[in-house]
Symmetry: C2
């Protein structure tokens, strides 16, 4: 918890420094707000809440299969991400919000997935979005935020960017304009399964050999300008995509050009800022991200395994621009862009890498006040108040123990990582009524005054 | 959000200063962990999660009423409070925990109640518990914590205490030993509905006239020692309860004595601590609290309406000792005691009272950097980085606007409460390239250098 809070606090501080405001939304949304926003797989993974009371009352008698019954007995569901509830929130409060609206939100989301390493049924998302501005400077800012957060956390990353419009253009180029998600999903797997695998996947989805060949041609003709310097290569590839090729037969190459120009602007703006990014940023045409609602820039962040020993290959942060998200809820033409940090995965990576958390974040007391007997009890309680006034966290060991059993109290201090154990000693010098012992050392117990005690601890 | 976080942070800091460790548990628990722990009303108010997938598969064909169907189609439920999940957690991790285990937990809970002012379907609880120690010093500490938190929040309160053993003894005294909850619930309403109402309620529940008379006799005979000084009166009443009356016919008066002695210890210990409490603490024999699992001390906190203008009568914090809570989960004989702050209600009270939140907690940027045109864009972005390095939160207005439309950017700054608007001006003196304007003042825009800018803002 203490370590996870450190991750949240790091993200929160960076968000706040860029002017993002905190909001929270309820865990439960109306089912119709969520259903259909994340694809079929998403719908299946949404946790539904059973209606309260006699939920079967009024259900038509023959409604016995799970699917049709669900609508009758469940009206609410747990949020699946923070973006859709945020869109609902923006539409609902549109008259009270000052646009552009920059908000951040750090809350858990729930998915009915099979739990496994790096994938949990309940996990936190840490989102920031800007809504009501189509300036690409928002993308630039979000990339700066990503860079700053991972630099502070000590996790080297690769920030991959792409633009959904390029993918849309490719889908149109190969004559499958309606199937941008299928093309994107297949291309997204290029890294993992290679062209063979992509071909197989497209075959299964009913794409033709001709369409596959056009796809391969496109990528090889327009995307493989080689250059030793990576940055130069990326810019060259983007420039190539910005040109409308003369030989093209595709119906709408302008979309590709538009997407490429947006990416080029982001790329060049980041280069122009005095402060260089600490992490690598890459243009990756095979980057798609599964979510339906992205329409422009797409961002995905992975651990840079060339710079550290992590074997973590999943995305630990991602985002993108969506032009139509609030349209579903009745507020069209409002463009937004956002990112989301996967705090639980980041936690796993930091644990895997080791030594990424500051040493002093463990939340424990500085002092354990030992409770010898009823005679010294009031003085012990009083000491705690005095220490608190000096901003020193201190707790009483609550169970009374005679001095012979003092070992158990010290064992508690040791296990809890509390550095000092203090007891009251009325038999010593008049003003030295405190006996202090450094818990995990062999040093002798010392009789001290209150001021000596304070200076020792501070 | 910003105000609520202030309440959470205040509570969190006090908890931590007393050595409580943070934990969190998942929102969903197995239904059998929660059901039966909060009485029939509680069971009804627990939100149940519909099983994923084809939940009707395998359900016996005639299972059509809501109650019997629930068991088949719902295995998980949303937590109803933080105490029961904590008990489950303690039992599950008993081998890794160092006892006494002091933990705090700040998370939302869910109840299928009709939403109304001061009662929400999702609300935060802020709990602290000590488990594995039966020392009454834990109660003393928790009362100190309550006092410290409300003092810091500026809300005057009355801290009422009682002991469930006294109520248990009364129930036995009137010959209804199994019905302590009914007696307690009726007595709990004494304040609101008077003796007439209590009689009616006990009538309805099947208590006899004889039992009611015994109850009235008990309260009047042993609880109404009058004295002008409230503290003296309380101590006198406690002392009276500590004595075993000679004339009694009750089967087990020792329970009352035991409870009264515990209360007296807590009362006297608090009096003995040098630092006086800021808030009033009262012994209230009609205090019961609804929850089944309390067995010793009971604590309830209400706004002290004699010291402020609040009309808020609900409990805003409460707690107590439970000797058997982990027993249900297979770990008997572990005593615990805890408290819970109702942050949402505290928020409402603080809003009602006004001026309770510090003025500087609003999370906004200090500086809005105006985005004039593409020529100055890189310098604008660079300025944000420079300000961040000086720990000054700053954001860019993302949409490019020509200087004539600058009003929109300043309007944004004003609405968001951002005090300074800065733009880049390449036409001025060489090192004074920043133009700064105090947003909500009539002062002229000034041309300044970076260092002049920093010193103005700081």
């Amino acid at each position: 918890m203490v370590k996870r809070n450190y991750i949240f606090d790091t993200i929160r501080k960076v968000y706040q420094s860029y002017g993002y405001q905190p909001i929270e939304t309820p865990a439960m949304e109306n089912s119709e707000t969520l259903m259909g926003k994340y694809g079929d797989e998403g719908d299946r993974l949404i946790f539904k809440i059973l209606n309260s009371g006699d939920f079967m009352d009024g259900v038509p008698p023959d409604t016995l299969d799970s699917k049709s019954l669900t609508k009758h007995i469940s009206e609410k569901a747990l949020r699946y991400d923070l973006t859709v509830p945020f869109a609902r929130y923006v539409v609902q409060h549109r008259n009270d919000i000052t646009f552009p609206f920059k908000r951040y939100q750090i809350q858990p989301v729930w998915r009915a997935d099979r739990p496994q390493k790096g994938r949990y049924r309940e996990f936190y998302q840490c989102d920031a979005d800007v809504i009501g501005s189509d300036s690409l400077l928002n993308e630039v800012e979000l990339i700066q935020i990503i860079d700053e957060v991972f630099t502070k956390l000590g996790v080297p990353v690769i920030i991959k960017i792409n633009n959904r419009k390029i993918l849309q253009g490719i889908a149109e180029d190969i004559g499958a304009p309606e199937r941008v998600i299928d093309v994107a999903t297949a291309l997204d797997k290029l890294d993992k399964i290679g062209w063979e695998g992509v071909k197989k996947e497209l075959d299964e989805k009913g794409f033709t050999q001709f369409q596959f060949t056009k796809l391969v041609d496109f990528i090889f003709e327009r995307m493989t300008i080689s250059a030793d310097n990576k940055d130069i290569r990326i810019l060259a590839n983007l420039n190539a995509l910005c040109e409308i090729p003369k030989s093209t037969e595709s119906p709408k190459p302008e979309i590709i050009t538009e997407g490429a120009k947006q990416l080029k602007f982001i790329w060049e703006t980041i280069q122009s800022i005095n402060k260089e990014l600490s992490n690598n940023i890459e243009f990756d045409i095979s980057l798609a991200r599964g979510l339906n609602y992205y329409t422009g820039t797409i961002i995905e962040v992975k651990v840079d395994t060339s710079k550290c020993t992590s074997r973590f290959t999943s995305s630990i942060c991602g985002g993108g621009r969506y032009d139509d998200l609030t349209g579903i809820f009745g507020l069209p033409n409002v463009s937004g862009v956002g990112i989301s940090f996967g705090a639980d995965r980041i936690y796993d990576v930091m644990e895997e890498l080791g030594n990424r958390f500051p040493k002093d974040i463990v939340a424990t007391s500085k002092v354990l006040v030992l409770n010898e007997n009823s005679e010294t009890m009031a003085l012990s309680l009083n000491l705690i108040q005095l220490l608190h006034k000096e901003q020193i966290s201190a707790q009483l060991y609550p169970d009374e123990l005679n001095p012979k059993k003092r070992g158990k109290q010290k064992e508690y201090a040791s296990k809890m990582g509390i550095p000092y154990a203090v007891s009251i000693d009325l038999t010593g010098e008049k003003n030295k009524i405190y006996k202090v012992k450094k818990v995990d050392s062999n040093e002798q117990e010392q009789s001290v005054s209150f001021y000596e005690l304070i200076s020792m601890i501070k």
